[in-house]
């Protein structure tokens, strides 16, 4: 495992950082919000495609080197810093990983180039309740003559309000809670029986509930073997948690930097507020937590690239620490800004709002602590 980026990854990081700063600033997010875009941003999607960001983990030809999840993590960190709403997590990370880990050669040949080119975007339709619980799936996929008929309701599916394709986790065996019996299906958003209820969310990124009513898909829509979808889903979800943790790290670092800037400029009682010792100690503690989380995110990204067996453990570590961090820092960011931090014209509130969405997706800190304990046998 290496904590030092390759030269290529370093360049990618710089490109992504500059792009986020120049074209995906919070001002951009605010403008989209005020225009009612709700996270839909075709222009940005186009630019991301031009930059090649959709294909960062997809080799140009079989066996070729890629930037790896570590590379994609740099992009997600950069977009986290400006809270940009992009299809990268769902499409470039989750869908690409699911197809790479479980897709048939035909599926890979059909979809991976479309992902890499930004032609097709995806959304993973998994959760059915308000809390992440990947095996609590009641959505049923029943065998019919030509393939499967799917019925069920998926809640708060990120990107489902604009993605072209859905990857639907459905049950082909057993009952809610069982790991065995899950299957993954490719379902076009415009398939008959699919209803998308767009959601206006606190982070202005949007999302959607997805209802599947007698949706028929062909046999070829199944990713990997039936009933054994969890074997694909588990490592995909670990990667998703890690990617999101990278994004959260970016958000936390940016909110922290904004806070430092304010501490070093705002005066009260004739003194810079950053010169008050209680503020200094709180800032120093946040910085330590940032350093710790950065190490965990980097290790988790590297573990995914190196195919390490402790991926699940590192994923939980990174996501849990990033959650605690992003709440701490975004709350301190508002508090240390004082009244101005409470206003909509200022940026701190955006970080706090996005932080709760980031935490809720792919397992809260509490969920990952529980899993970390289970993985460690206690």
């Amino acid at each position: 495992m290496s904590f030092v980026l390759t030269e290529d990854q370093e360049m990618l990081r710089e490109t992504a950082t500059a792009f986020a700063r120049d074209e995906l600033s919070i001002t951009h997010l605010r403008a989209l919000r005020d225009a009612g875009a709700n996270g839909k941003d075709a222009k940005t999607r186009q630019k991301l495609a031009e930059l090649g960001f959709f294909g960062v983990i997809i080799p140009d030809e079989p066996g070729a080197e890629t930037f790896g999840l570590t590379g994609l993590g740099q992009i997600l960190e950069a977009q986290g810093a400006t809270l940009a709403a992009t299809p990268l997590l769902q499409t470039a990370l989750i869908a690409a990983s699911a197809l790479q880990l479980g897709g048939s050669p035909a599926q890979q040949a059909e979809w991976l180039p479309k992902i890499a080119g930004g032609e097709t975007t995806f959304a993973l339709a998994l959760d059915e309740t308000a809390h992440f619980a990947p095996y609590n799936v009641s959505t049923e996929a029943e065998r019919n003559g030509q393939g499967y008929t799917i019925n069920g309701l998926k809640k708060y599916v990120p990107d489902a309000h604009h993605a072209d394709m859905l990857i639907v986790v459905a049950r082909t065996f057993g009952e809610s809670g069982d790991r065995h019996g899950l299957s993954l299906f490719l379902v076009p958003r415009d398939a008959k029986g699919v209803t998308i209820t767009e959601l206006k969310t606190v982070d202005s990124h949007g999302a959607a509930h997805v209802t599947l009513e007698n949706v028929n898909v062909a046999e070829s829509a199944l990713i990997g073997p039936a009933d054994q979808g969890a074997d694909i889903l588990d490592p995909v979800l670990d990667r998703a948690a890690i990617g999101l943790a990278a994004e959260m790290l970016g958000s936390a670092q940016a909110a922290f930097d904004m806070t430092l800037e304010y501490l070093n400029n705002r005066k009260q009682f004739g003194q810079l507020i950053g010169s008050f010792q209680s503020m200094q100690h709180r800032a120093a503690k946040m910085f330590i937590d940032l350093e710790m989380t950065r190490s965990c995110v980097a290790s988790a990204l590297a573990a995914a690239d190196d195919g390490k067996s402790d991926l699940a453990e590192l994923a939980s570590l990174a996501k849990a620490l990033a959650s605690e961090l992003v709440h701490l820092v975004s709350n301190e960011c508002v508090q240390m800004h004082g009244g101005i931090g409470m206003t909509d014209v200022a940026d701190p509130g955006f970080y706090m709002k996005r932080a709760r969405v980031q935490e809720a997706l792919y397992g809260s800190a509490s969920w990952h602590r529980d899993r970390y304990a289970r993985l460690n046998g206690f």
């Binding site: 959760d127 309740t129 308000a130 809390h131 992440f132 809640k155 708060y156 209820t197 767009e198 959601l199 206006k200 969310t201 606190v202 982070d203 202005s204 999302a207 959607a208 509930h209 005066k267 009260q268 009682f269 004739g270 008050f276 209680s278 503020m279 709440h327 709350n331 508002v334 508090q335 004082g338 009244g339 931090g341 409470m342 206003t343 909509d344 014209v345 701190p348 509130g349 706090m352 709002k353 709760r356 969405v357 935490e359 809720a360 997706l361 809260s364 509490s366 969920w367 602590r369 529980d370």
Partner: protein, 404 residues
């Protein structure tokens, strides 16, 4: 206190009970929603005509301000009688007839520092809910360091002329009058501040609502451009406003710490334990399935209970003459922490159900929680930041020294 013997108090209780029975409309004995609160004033709105009747009757009797002198329209009750009235109102679940910064903050200060004419002119309309007041304190450059305020007030012989800007003026866009801190001497800090009153309809006053992260706009930026103010509207002496300001801040902190945050409170909203049971689920013995979250909710509920007991203890001790001093700072700090913790736990327990902003697909109650969660972040900033309260406790209560 001879009057206050138990028998006479019992007599008063029966009178009060009878009067309330006769005068409090049945619809005023039901839980109040946020949008039913009565703030009074020139442009008062009443969702329900009973609200107006209830305010008029209580105002006429002076019972909106039970302990204020009769001379100025108050109820003229003793502390014990006021407590009895409170109990009797609670007994029938009577709504408060009036929410008012005049009652909670400005009135008590004016009674202490104003002259007779000022009291006669302003207090009765506060009691009756005819004038709605707002507070002109914070400025863009003067938040925690309130005494750093810059709004100029010049003596022009027969009037004062005011120029400057305030922020965080609660409901300035809806208020009739403002009580305002202004600078009358720029050569000194605390000793150059005066306390002045003027009509918000005066030429040169403009209030612009500030949109908060919660989407609401209870506060304004307020601009004063050559606002003329008659000289008799300055309270206390020129350059003597800081003492009034401090006293008033105490009233503010007390009203926050006693009432908690969030107006009418979270009626209709469940506790984090209930949301957790619903959304996270329970184990076979009925416990919240996530033991980690459950422990944190228990911790918070204990803190909430401890807070309520502390309010009760301090009230009883004050009654017995054993005041701790600066309890408002203690309770203000704790109330902010408590309300913020509560909302963090609510949002955590709600999961993605707590992430809605507006429109379809989310539970309405949950979306109210989301907005309140964001609103609660202001609790540790408004009315004296938590940091300022810790400073006050450290220095005034614990006697820790400053750097030398």
């Amino acid at each position: 206190m001879a009057y206050d013997n138990a028998e006479q108090l019992e007599e008063f209780r029966l009178e009060a009970r009878k009067w309330l029975e006769d005068n409090c409309p049945p619809s005023m004995r039901t839980p109040m929603r946020d949008d039913e609160v009565v703030w009074g004033g020139r442009n008062a709105t009443f969702k329900n005509p009973d609200s107006k009747a209830w305010l008029d009757r209580m105002g006429e009797k002076g019972w909106t301000a039970p302990e204020w002198p009769k001379e100025y329209g108050g109820g003229g009750l003793s502390r014990s009688e006021a407590r009895v009235l409170e109990q009797e109102m609670r007994r029938i679940k009577a709504r408060p007839p009036l929410f008012s910064f005049g009652l909670w903050m400005f009135g008590p200060a004016l009674l202490e520092f104003g002259n007779h004419e000022q009291k006669l002119r302003f207090i009765p309309d506060i009691v009756k809910g005819k004038t709605r007041w707002c507070q002109g304190y914070s400025e863009p450059g003067a938040g925690s360091d309130l005494a750093g305020l810059q709004t100029r007030c010049e003596d022009k012989g027969d009037h004062y002329l005011i120029n400057g800007q305030k922020v965080w003026t609660s409901y300035a866009d809806k208020a009739d009058w403002i009580f305002c801190l202004v600078r009358t001497d720029t050569s000194t800090k605390h000793e150059g501040i005066s306390f002045i009153l003027f009509d918000m309809k005066s030429p040169g006053v403009e209030a612009r609502p500030i949109q908060l992260i919660s989407g609401e706009s209870p506060f304004c930026e307020t601009f004063f451009t050559d606002v003329k103010v008659p000289k008799e509207q300055l309270v206390g002496r020129v350059n003597g406003g800081w003492d009034i300001a401090k006293r008033l801040l105490q009233f503010e902190r007390s009203s926050i710490s006693a009432g908690g945050f969030g107006g009418t409170g979270g009626s209709g909203i469940l506790g984090p334990d209930e949301y957790a049971k619903h959304h996270v689920g329970t184990d076979e013995t009925g416990r919240v399935a996530d033991g980690d979250l459950r422990g944190r909710i228990a911790d918070h509920k204990m803190y909430t209970k401890a807070f309520a007991l502390t309010v009760q203890r301090q009230t009883e001790q004050a009654k017995a003459g054993q005041a701790v001093g600066h309890t408002a700072s203690i309770l203000k700090y704790a109330a902010a922490k408590m309300n913020q913790d509560r909302h963090e736990l609510l949002i955590e327990a709600l999961g993605t159900e707590g992430l809605g902003w507006e429109g379809e697909g989310f539970d309405k109650g949950a979306m109210r929680v989301t907005r309140q969660w964001l609103r609660s972040k202001g609790n540790s900033i408004e009315g004296g930041t938590s940091e300022i309260n810790l400073n006050v406790i450290a220095k005034r209560v614990l006697g820790l020294k400053e750097h030398q």
